[in-house]
Amino acid sequence: DQQVKQNSPSLSVQEGRISILNCDYTNSMFDYFLWYKKYPAEGPTFLISISSIKDKNEDGRFTVFLNKSAKHLSLHIVPSQPGDSAVYFCAASRRRGDMRFGAGTRLTVKP
């Protein structure tokens, strides 16, 4: 069952503009949300996270927003850089420790 959904398989943005990646989840038991970034032939690497008790977390150019009532989160990257081009996975976890991932969004930042 697809508990974490990323409905946009790809996104193309001009360098310097904002990238917005979206994620929806269905399980209200999730209480921690993460974004991972993946380059080809490498494992995913952690980018940023947010607890369900917050609605925003910012780390440099990266900001994650959480809307619990809508079961929706988004990742904003501003300004976008060509080195940000990668596949971004949304993930969600609950106290049991298992973590579920979305299908990913391939971001391309054009110079």
């Binding site: 494992g43 049991r96 991932f101």
Partner: protein, 115 residues
Amino acid sequence: GAGVSQTPSNKVTEKGKYVELRCDPISGHTALYWYRQSLGQGPEFLIYFQGTGAADDSGLPNDRFFAVRPEGSVSTLKIQRTERGDSAVYLCASSPSGAITGELFFGEGSRLTVL
């Protein structure tokens, strides 16, 4: 090394054969996860260990799949009677405690191809 190590990096086998994939987590990490990633998909949860015990194996697709972590460190994912549909990248990840606030540290994966 300092990161999660997975071997082999590539494995080609024939339908019906038995396969073992190994994961060596970051030293001291008590939680270990196995995921499977097919082309164009996100990592699909298989099993999660906390120490030596499987805390959650609900993601294992059927009884051909089994994983062990006998000493609470290295883990082996075992696949019996492989099928072509088992072809995927098998990712291992570890975290210090498996607590909900813990990010996962992934290995580079083992690419399994079943002919």
